[in-house]
């Protein structure tokens, strides 16, 4: 990797476009002065904002395009009118051409994923990409994947998710052998879990040096932080993510209601306001903003569309880390080892059945 981390930004993405993307990049640059940026989008919108961030202006260049994908466009629509020329496409294209090490967009998830698949293509041997989320837990953070890129998974895809997720956890948490759990449900002898079971068998029997297989975990293990990496197919993963977000908002709502009801509670709230601020920060999605697209020939970070400056900066930080600490190399390493041995185990398993 070159000495600088080169970050391609879709400056038009998200609910706020350049007014959040540019200051967000500036904030991240303060933390990582060895970053360089390419900003894709309408230069007449970007340039005025960029002028207010002279330090970023020095580390960035703007590539103009008129075309931007709307937040509510369907992936097929977005592909039709935005391929080759939209700000999302050009940011991805910079990664494909080796001009950038990572692309970051707060644009529409479906369009970003469709274009990323089309432009970057999946890694050889990986059929479908995945979206990995960083999930705050009682122990710190965990990687949870797939949170919605594709639905359903056979044992081999689950093992690929385990390999890619552990590579990401190595980068993110700086640990040698992240623990990996397969998301499952507790009731025993329920039919239909064959693929999850088979994946468990493969992960148990194959000694991958960068992955510590923990076993099955249940939904409540995610928040506990039982493992560093939680693996599941995209439907259940997305439901889990959204349900947790909903529950957090629900409890915030209860809390606000409860704390405003009597003068004692209001005074108590005022006295404990610092503690509540700390709590809000812990529950704040901005702090761990960004999903990572895994399984493509390049690193793509998806920021929340509604992210504020701080949130978008967190997504840029995430992109920086993934590039700086060589996520792609670690993924290839994990998959190369995984794949040889997976085939062996599947063959043996097949013979034994």
């Amino acid at each position: 990797m070159p000495q600088k981390v080169r970050i391609a930004l879709d400056a038009m993405g998200g609910d706020h476009g350049a007014t959040v993307v540019v200051p967000g990049a500036a904030e991240s640059l303060v933390r990582h002065p060895d970053s360089e940026f390419i900003l894709f989008g309408d230069s007449s919108v970007i340039e005025p904002v960029l002028r207010r961030h002279p330090r970023l202006a020095e580390a960035a260049r703007v590539v103009h395009t008129d075309v931007a994908v709307k937040m509510d466009e369907k992936p097929s629509q977005a592909l039709r009118h935005g391929r080759w020329k939209s700000s999302i496409w050009l940011a991805l294209d910079a990664v494909r051409k080796g001009e950038a090490d990572v692309a970051v967009s707060a644009g529409n998830t479906g369009a970003l994923m469709a274009m990323a698949k089309f432009n970057l293509k999946t890694i050889e041997g990986i059929e479908r990409p995945a979206i990995a989320a960083i999930w705050p837990t009682l122990r710190g953070e965990s990687v949870v994947l797939d949170v919605g890129a594709s639905i359903g998974a056979d044992a081999e895809h689950l093992c690929d998710l385990a390999a890619m997720g552990s590579a990401m956890a190595r980068v993110l948490f700086d640990i040698e052998r992240p623990t990996v759990g397969l998301l499952n449900i507790g009731v025993e002898e329920v039919k239909g879990l064959d693929e999850v079971r088979k994946a468990g068998q493969i992960l148990r029997e194959q000694p991958v040096p960068y992955l510590e297989y923990y076993g099955f975990v249940e939904g409540d293990d995610i928040g506990k932080g039982t493992v560093d990496v939680v693996v599941t197919e995209g439907f259940a993963g997305n439901i889990a993510l959204k349900t947790a977000e909903g529950t957090a908002r629900q409890i915030s709502g209860y809390l606000r209601g409860a704390m405003g009801r009597t003068w004692k509670a209001r005074l108590g709230y005022w006295l404990a306001r610092e503690a509540f601020r700390a709590l809000r920060e812990k529950m704040d999605p901005a702090r761990s903003n960004g999903g990572v697209f895994l399984g493509l020939n390049g690193i793509v970070i998806k920021s929340h569309g509604g992210a504020d400056v701080e949130g978008f900066a967190a997504a840029v930080d995430l992109g920086y880390d993934m590039a700086r600490y060589e996520l792609m190399a670690k993924i290839r390493q994990a998959l190369a080892r995984g794949r040889d041995q997976t085939s062996a185990v599947v063959a043996v398993g097949g013979a034994a059945l």
Copy 2:
């Protein structure tokens, strides 16, 4: 239905057995004096506890059995040694024989479900039973099903779940046409959701008088209370339920931590302690304790194994309501209408494709 609601209790189930089941029943009896109980289990354990609850003793009879299913037994094991004679089995058998209107157990979920299927059998036309949870929301409560009885669902099974869930919501919330949403994920044009889409089409096109089809909902809609009934297959449903429980515990953990850190926060906590108590109550699973097994020829309530007296009483209350307001009749009504029209729509849909 006879004038009294006759409730069969597995007095050995749960982590605490009769010491929780008996006082729990006594508490529920105070609220519903028109209840009658049959307590199944070891009479040498039940009788001494029952003597401390004279009012319950008058409304209850004890049926002795030595056999109890352990909390960690696998369903197949439990069936082998507990069929015909365990306290779970006998409670279910009382429902089958028409001696009780509902069975309540805090016993092991897998064993209870296996025995319920074996003993009560599924309603004609329903292939697999479901477990429905009562989920606290910002608007009150919703019914969420299936939370883990079976994995995967075709469109017809999802429609059956919608019908049964809305019947339960009618009983529980006393509304004529509960709103029903199908749990889905937001990213558009993701492949693999054919059955959910097809179910949506059927529910839209069939005017069931007791069900208002809302459309798709996502994970965060559950906590919002967007609909009265959330329908999904058992794997995603169980993951959602456990993830929400985990998130609630996680936030409680953060809150406890934050409130103990400084003297101001501690004082604030003390002043606002009533508010926190109210919050804890809202988040307390005991308040809405109990899953309902749907799709069987009889009503079965599953209480949390770890429920305390108040929690078990809530499960008994739930059983009372389901029997008193004729859940079974409402389910049959919903299914009978649903089924005729489902077949028609499927046939038309098939011809149109």
